[in-house]
Assembly symmetry: C2
Homo-oligomer: 344 residues x 2
């Protein structure tokens, strides 16, 4: 019999096909594969002039901004969805609400190499990408106009990437994205009852059971969530309680780089280099809110940052978009087993 | 400057690119087109033996169930996501919640013809499909185990359809889908303050403004929602307040068939026969809830059924899945104008 499972964080019910579950070979996702290096790629080394000016870069000694010699490079998105200039204004029109589209939209160019996947990069290099995420979040969260800084990565056209060159993106917004808000509310309510972090409790329960664990190291754990919406969905969480990605100590960040490499390598191996997205869910910016100086409340204690990784294997999205109701053809236990057991 | 807009029903903020918006020709959605009729299609007339037994059909006089002579035919889904046999049981495991996967999963075969699209069908025929929706919802809502009956349609493989033969689907669930629940909450809260239906107010404001209206007839109005998540998203609502799709009077149902044909024809014309999904949002089943005999509360007065139509044009879903934050490259005003002005 299929099972309905409730995600303890979002409260979302999901149908999980526990019996005749889909195996990795049942998903015909097009492998992302390698693109031949085009002459004109704006993210390739030597083409620095084709992007907006550099905001941040991990550079080799004695190299200049907007020139060669970088390892990770951050620029504004050439076609930003939101604009940096201006003030936040809200206005109404009858029952409708508008806000000016103020925000930051940046590109983190993950590497000067056109054809390396994140899974293939050295751990040391991945750590530099994570460093760039951290630096940009830390900088943008100081801007009073922004409530949230969202870092994400689209890998492959099937996941929405418009350029093949490895890159991540960041959007700073004057609102907190919906799913993050939902998580914040659940975490707060749980904390009010238990005086414990719900994510810490979940991690403990997952480690005890082991059935959905994909990988562990000293500071991080990765598992397929109990009520996964999508086949082979994976969450990466720090074992120790931290509300903010950007406050991660250096030693832990290196372990996160290792974990990210391992998870993406396992996904690539089991599912033949599938397109995927990942999104970092960190706490919202600490800026005060009008009339709510204590907006942050217990977030430091109740929220637990994490990364959600979603391989793009199924096409059922439209119905889900219209209802918020998900049918997952692969149980997280099966998914975790495949991912755990594949040899790298 | 881009705009942030808040959907008054879901509370979701969306970035709308109001300036350099994408035009219909910017979307490279593969036209669904016609498939040559395969011999083995289980939904074609003459192949009735290849589906599970008929549950309901609009039949010509003197024809027998599970034989030829039908115009619309409903059967169980051959690979149901949920199962009809059994009782609802809930259990916990630490902080995780399980429920038995009880439910109905049916297929509404829209026509005996393999290659006609819904947009091309006669209004009279579409009315019979709507009749089948109504009959099945009315029947299944009597089952105390189910809280909701969700009717939807996936058109084209890009929208998740696995068979090309025109068909709709229905899922009865022991839970109310998440987005419907969100709408129910907003509608209830608004009613408590205003003693008016928020959808009625919205329809009135949209008709007054006219900027987002796509089509109108005596009983129905179709518009591109103010904070559309997706380019060319359209909602169809009854002008008069009704909480339930299934209680729609016959005269109004015929006008809904006309409206549906018109909207789908306009979408096909403007966007070159794109894949789409539609989902009917009706009130939840009136079955009593444990400890909440008044669960229905004011739903009859505060909720307003409607159909959400989502063409599948963009591939940005994964990021949205991970954050609940949407960037819509075509403003609903532009979309409505294109759809309104195309000649059919």
């Amino acid at each position: 019999m299929p099972e309905l499972r409730k995600d303890p964080i979002s409260g979302r019910w999901v149908v999980i096909a526990v019996e005749r579950g889909k195996r990795p070979s049942d998903f015909k996702s097009a492998a992302v594969g390698k693109e031949e290096k085009p002459k004109s790629c704006p993210f390739c080394e030597g083409n620095e002039g084709k992007t907006p000016p550099e905001i941040l870069a991990w550079r080799k000694p004695d190299t200049k901004p907007n020139d060669i010699g970088w390892e990770v490079r951050v620029t504004q998105n050439k076609f930003p969805a939101l604009t940096m200039q201006g003030e936040i204004h809200r206005r109404g029109e009858g029952i409708l609400d508008y806000m000016t589209g103020i925000g930051a939209h940046e590109v983190i160019i993950d590497s000067p190499e056109h054809s390396t996947t994140l899974a293939e990069m050295e751990v040391n290099h991945i750590d530099k990408i994570l460093w760039a995420y951290k630096m940009r979040i830390s900088e943008l969260e100081k801007d009073d106009r922004f409530r949230y800084v969202l870092v994400f990565r689209n890998y492959g056209t099937g996941a929405g990437a418009s350029l093949a060159h490895p890159h991540s993106q960041l959007i700073a917004t004057p609102i907190t994205p919906r799913y993050v808000k939902l998580e914040l509310r659940t975490a707060r309510d749980y904390f009010h009852i238990k005086e414990r972090c719900i994510f810490c409790d979940l991690v403990k329960q997952e480690l005890n059971s082991g059935a959905r664990i994909v990988a562990e190291n000293e500071y991080f754990v990765a598992y397929a969530p109990f009520a996964s919406r999508f086949p082979f969905e994976i969450w990466i969480l720090p074992r120790r309680h931290h509300s903010n990605f950007q406050d991660i100590p250096d030693a832990e960040r290196m372990q996160l780089a290792m974990m990210l490499k391992e998870i993406l390598s396992r996904l690539a191996k089991v599912l033949n280099d599938p397109p995927y997205n990942y999104v970092i869910h960190t706490a919202p910016n600490p800026a005060p809110r009008p009339g709510r100086p204590d907006y942050w409340g217990t977030i430091k204690y109740d929220f637990h940052w994490h990364i959600e990784v979603i391989p793009r294997l199924t096409k059922m999205a439209g119905f889900e978009w219209g209802s918020g109701f998900y049918i997952n053809p692969t149980s997280p236990e099966q998914a975790a087993k495949f991912l755990r057991e594949v040899s790298l």
